[in-house]
Amino acid sequence: MSIGRIVANIAAIAAAAGLIAGIVHIVAILVAPIYAQHDAWVRLSSLGPQGATIELPRAGPDARLIPYQDPAVAAAFCRFDLSRGPTLVHASASDDGFSSLSFHTKRGSIFYAITDRAATRGTLDAVVLTPEQLRDREAHDSDETPVRELRLVSATPEGFVMIRALSEQPSLYRRAEALTKSLACVTEVRGG
């Protein structure tokens, strides 16, 4: 075997190895978020059970669970599971300052959000459902009375709702915190 042949073989093997390594590298990067153990869902799940309203610890040097929280904003969340029925979400809205509800899929992406500006009589209400549950609900809608509820379709059966309230002064943080406790997520009981 000539020297040139050996060099060509080594080059071909190196190129093949490089190609395989490159593919593995790209695939690993693409699947990393799916297998990440520290996404929002995993972190929030560690704080409490599904359905419960759980306050997030105030942002500070000692609260190391969730980065990039606003220290001026109190937040709480509840996790929903639509496999047992639609989830009714209710929260009080701030009467002067800013408060908001954001609706997230299990992956953490927001599929809907409303602020206190959308509140009716000081409350924010919504129904989170799957596409099938929405079809079922629409089939039962009366032709005469208009639908008065806000229906939000979640792309994943599980997800979470986050309430945020801004404190306009440091001394008002407790009040913002109290507002976040008004969040309630209840699985709807049909037929009763």
């Binding site: 001026a72 404190s167 306009e168």
Partner: protein, 95 residues
């Protein structure tokens, strides 16, 4: 600052967490920042106490400033943020 009902400006380390400081000052709200007569404001990031709006940075050499706009017509999808409306950052020398 781009139009918004409220904004907050906070300082975090490179992992996204506030930096511990004796003043327990991690950021400013639009409702509490000290302003000049024309409504503008100046925030000083420094390891030692400064007059006016001081954001303590501790021993960190690298940090992130986070500006949050609450209830703003500006959104991530609908509109680009005008650079000129954002606060400017200038580096000063140590006194």
């Amino acid at each position: 600052v781009p139009a918004a009902r409220f904004w907050t400006l906070s300082l975090v380390d490179r992992q996204g967490f506030p930096i511990d400081n004796a003043a327990q000052r991690f950021g400013f709200r639009s409702s509490e920042v000290l302003r000049d007569a024309d409504g503008s404001f100046q925030v000083t990031v420094a390891p030692v106490a400064q007059a006016g709006n001081w954001l303590p940075v501790g021993a960190q050499e690298r940090y992130n400033l986070v500006l949050r706009l609450y209830d703003s017509p500006v959104s991530a999808t609908a509109a680009a943020i005008d650079r000129n409306s954002l606060p400017g950052i200038t580096r000063e020398t140590c006194p």
